[in-house]
Symmetry: C2
């Protein structure tokens, strides 16, 4: 890295794009800005932001931790867990220092660890607020899993804590960093489907709390806050919002849970909800903990429809487009949505920009989720 | 045809299955009953019931009339139309006698025509009641297009008129005579998808009243009674009922129509509705007059899902089944749903049996449609 590269990188990290372009000289601006942010950083892990993972469940260990390898701006440096043995084993596997393993008790001392820039909260829903707030108070930026929290009040407290600390708070809406979804949004905005009239989206999977440890907390209201809607229906909800680019104004819903199924003593099973958007688009969505895995969405326009099935899987996404003159199946390149998501936050921190899915985005969904529950409970449409 | 065959056929026509079996002698009953009803009739058109078509629009002339060629028990003998020239031309094309052409004015004189057994009403929705009742009063059996009528009261009057006349009344729910749908129902009942949790179904097409004459009446409330829900949303509604085999107990709905779109000054465009069934199944459905043609349905069970896309087209149906261990696409044989539907009524008349989709079936859907409108209007769940 020569002096110019080093200077350029500093400016990029500081988010000084214009200064950077100026530095590069007239005519070089476009090329310079288009260049990957940290081409210069790639061989220098110390220039990547350091991440701590809080909660070492299945999603963290199987989907998140292995994907740091594809990050350009983010590296795994610390673990926070209630299982010291598990954490130790994983730390060894990932070459992490033992001093960078924290328990839930000594978590707050992470404030003294300059290696940790960002804390990624992957805990049961009801614990998101506490750990986000503690992380912010420890002076750390936060990526928090969805749903952001189990109440609107908690979401607001999380936003306030991060603001007070002058740190970033982003919610892990991975689909908003996933190439097929981004491509669908682009096609919609370009008018490829004509005027959008309807969105449908279905998200369901079988929870098996007695067979799969990862599902145990999902059927406990105290930990999960709610059932299928909070856990996976939120993908349908969020997709309806990013496909339309609008905020809903009214919701209606029905909930159905088998009273004899022990899985649904505390949380809901099946939810059908409809969102009305200001443009007149209706989104008709379902979520379930008792139908075989489905993660799909369709956008219906007056010039054609676009299917994503799956819409929100970890990989193997598929897009189909139907128009009057036939169907097509665009061959898009699968991307690492987890790496893209984490790097987005690292870049935003380096550039002092607001992430695409900040705390406010998470709060909105939690507010709509509460309105959906209210609509089902009261049997009436709820204005939001 | 020998004397026994002739006698057997008479008894079959009279619906005297038991007498027929007895006539055939012990041991022959099962084989005799399993045999196609009118094997003996096939070369004898006079033994087919005679049908009159009322209303010579696009659907009648392009889908119904050409399909009598595949009927075993039904033959086209008469036309009723407000366009004498059109009727005359079609009569020539189909080899019908000129005396068997009726106008709406002299329609009632059809009572004196013994060649006509069944009258098939293919008029705009609001005219179904009047012509069904006039046909019944003329002593004719009736097949009436869906929606049965534009009010529950009219449906009841139609049922009463047919009962009083001692004639059959069937509603043309062609999907209930279509092989892919019948196969799906069979798979559901056999438990192939496990416990059913959700149904989704979407039916939409672009109405173009200024471009397509067949769409003119569809956007006029006086003729159509309603918009997309009555015309095509009824496929979603009816499918949810025949897939579950249950009657809904509660409906919620939202309607959205662009107030600036001249097509929707009188009738609704987009409808999202949810039905709750006693078993706990929810059906989440959409209908639209402004999204590019979609006619699909999915059944979600805890052992897998089954897609029909299209579910309700005139041909080229497709079934996909998804289970934990992969997807399959059963290769079923496309059938002539129109011929099957018409022959079903002819057979029921000959056997004096109630058809699978009698007037009462049509009335139920109209009742649910009215509840869907009421739910959308009042912004609350409606018990049905």
């Amino acid at each position: 890295m020569d002096a110019t590269d080093s200077r350029r990188q500093f400016l990029r990290q500081a988010g000084l794009g214009a200064a950077m372009a100026a530095l590069a000289g007239p005519g070089a601006a476009a090329a310079s800005l288009a260049q990957p942010l940290t081409a210069a950083m790639q061989n220098n892990d110390k220039k990547k932001l350091g991440w701590a993972i809080v909660g070492l469940g299945k999603f963290a260990t199987e989907e998140i931790m292995p994907n740091f390898k594809d990050c350009q701006h983010s590296r795994l440096v610390a673990l926070v867990s209630g299982s010291p043995d598990k954490a130790k084993k994983l730390a060894q596997e990932y070459g992490l220092q033992e001093k960078n393993i924290y328990s839930y008790q000594n978590f707050d001392s992470i404030k003294d660890n300059p290696e940790v820039d960002v804390v990624y909260i992957i805990l049961p829903n009801s614990m998101h607020a506490e750990y986000t707030i503690r992380a912010a108070q420890a002076g750390k930026h936060v990526l928090c899993e969805k749903p952001m929290a189990t109440s609107v009040e908690d979401c607001q407290k999380m936003i306030d804590a991060s603001k007070k600390a002058g740190k970033q708070l982003m919610i892990a809406y991975r689909c908003q960093y996933e190439p097929f979804n981004l491509n669908a949004i682009e096609r919609i905005r370009k008018g490829e489907l004509g005027k959008i009239r309807f969105i449908t989206s279905d998200h369901g999977r079988l929870v098996k709390p007695t067979e799969d440890k990862a599902d145990t907390w999902r059927v406990q209201k105290k930990l999960a806050g709610g059932g299928s809607l909070m856990d996976i229906g939120i993908y349908s909800l969020n997709a309806a919002r990013y496909f339309t680019g609008e905020e809903p104004v009214e919701v209606t819903a029905q909930i159905s849970s088998d009273p004899n199924d022990p899985r649904f003593k505390e949380v809901e099973d099946n939810v059908a909800f409809t969102l009305r958007f200001p443009s007149g688009v209706l989104a008709s969505c379902t979520s379930s903990y008792s139908y075989e895995t489905v993660k799909r969405g369709r956008i219906f326009g007056d010039k054609g429809w676009l299917d994503l099935d799956p819409l929100s899987d970890y990989d193997k996404h598929n897009m189909k487009i139907g128009k009057q003159d036939g169907k097509e199946e665009p061959q898009l390149k699968e991307g690492n949505q987890f790496a893209a998501e984490m790097d987005h936050l690292s870049e935003c921190i380096m550039q002092n920009k607001t992430p695409r899915t900040p705390g406010e985005e998470g709060l909105r969904d939690v507010r709509y989720i509460m309105a959906i529950y209210e609509s089902a409970r009261k049997g009436k449409a709820i204005k939001v």
